[in-house]
Symmetry: C2
Subunit: 127 residues, 2 copies
DNA sequence: CAGTATCCCTTCCGATACTG
DNA sequence: CAGTATCGGAAGGGATACTG
C-alpha cells in the first residue's frame, strides 16, 4: 500500500471499500474462517450449531453475500428433507491467509488491547 | 486457525470477535492504512481531506476508538489555533501487514468479485 | 483547528412465525 | 432441513450548528 498515487484513499479512487465493506458486518469473517477450516462440505445447520449465537436469518444473509462474491459455493441436493452444503471456493481460499493473519493478530494481542482500553477509559474519566 | 479445540467460533470462546468487531465499522481499516503510510505525524484536517468523504464526527469517533485500542497516538499542542497530530503506534504497525494483505487482496481480486456479483444477480433474477 | 452536541434517517440484526 | 417474510428495536452514521 506504500507509494500510492496522490490519493488512494479518496472516495472515487479507493479500490478497497467496495470489497472490504462486505466483510464489515457481524458474521462474514467468522463464517469464512469456519468454512476455510473444513475439509469436507458443511451443512447449514452445522454452521449454525458451530457458531452458536447466529440467527437463521443472518446466517442465510451472510452465506448469500459470500456466495454472490464467489467466496463460497452452495450445493443443494434434491432430497427430503433437503440438504444444502457449503464449501469455500479457490477465491475464498486465497482470502483465507489474510483474515487468518488478522485473527492470529487478534489472538496474540487481545490482552494488550484490552489493557489499553481499560487504561484509556479510566484516563478519560479523570479528565 | 487450524486445529482448534472443538468450538473456537462459539460465542463464549471466540477471542477474535471482541477485537475484530472494532474494525467492522465504515472507517477504521481505512484510517489505519492511511496512518500506516505516513512517515510524519498527520493532522486531523489532513486526514479528513485525504479521505475526502468522511464526516468530522465519524473521523473523531474512529480515531478515538483506535486510540483507545492503543493503535494510534493522539498528540495535542497547546497552541492557537489548536494543532493535533496522529501517529500509528508499534501495536498499530504490527497490525498493518495484515490489513495491508487484505487490501492487496481486494485490489487484486476486485474484478473477479465484481464479475461474480453480476453473474450471481442475473442468475438469481432468472430463478 | 479540532473538536462537541443534537437531530434524524438508514441499516443491521434478532425474534418470531410460516413453508417447500 | 433449510430456508423466507415480517416486525421492531438498536446501532451506525451523515448534516448541521455550536465552541475552546
Amino acid at each position: 500500500m506504500k507509494n500510492n498515487p496522490a490519493n488512494f484513499y479518496s472516495h472515487e479512487l479507493c479500490p478497497i471499500r467496495g470489497i472490504l465493506d462486505r466483510f464489515g458486518d457481524k458474521w462474514s469473517i467468522l463464517v469464512i474462517l469456519l468454512l476455510g477450516d473444513q475439509k469436507d462440505p458443511i451443512r447449514f445447520n452445522e454452521i449454525m450449531a458451530t457458531i452458536g449465537d447466529i440467527s437463521q436469518k443472518m446466517l442465510t444473509v451472510t452465506l448469500r453475500s459470500l456466495e454472490a462474491d464467489g467466496l463460497v459455493v452452495r450445493k443443494q441436493y434434491a432430497e427430503i428433507p433437503p440438504r444444502v452444503e457449503y464449501t469455500i471456493t479457490p477465491l475464498g481460499s486465497s482470502l483465507l491467509p489474510h483474515i487468518d493473519g488478522l485473527a492470529k493478530w487478534a489472538v496474540k494481542n487481545q490482552d494488550a488491547v484490552m489493557k489499553m482500553r481499560k487504561k484509556f477509559s479510566t484516563k478519560r474519566k479523570a479528565a
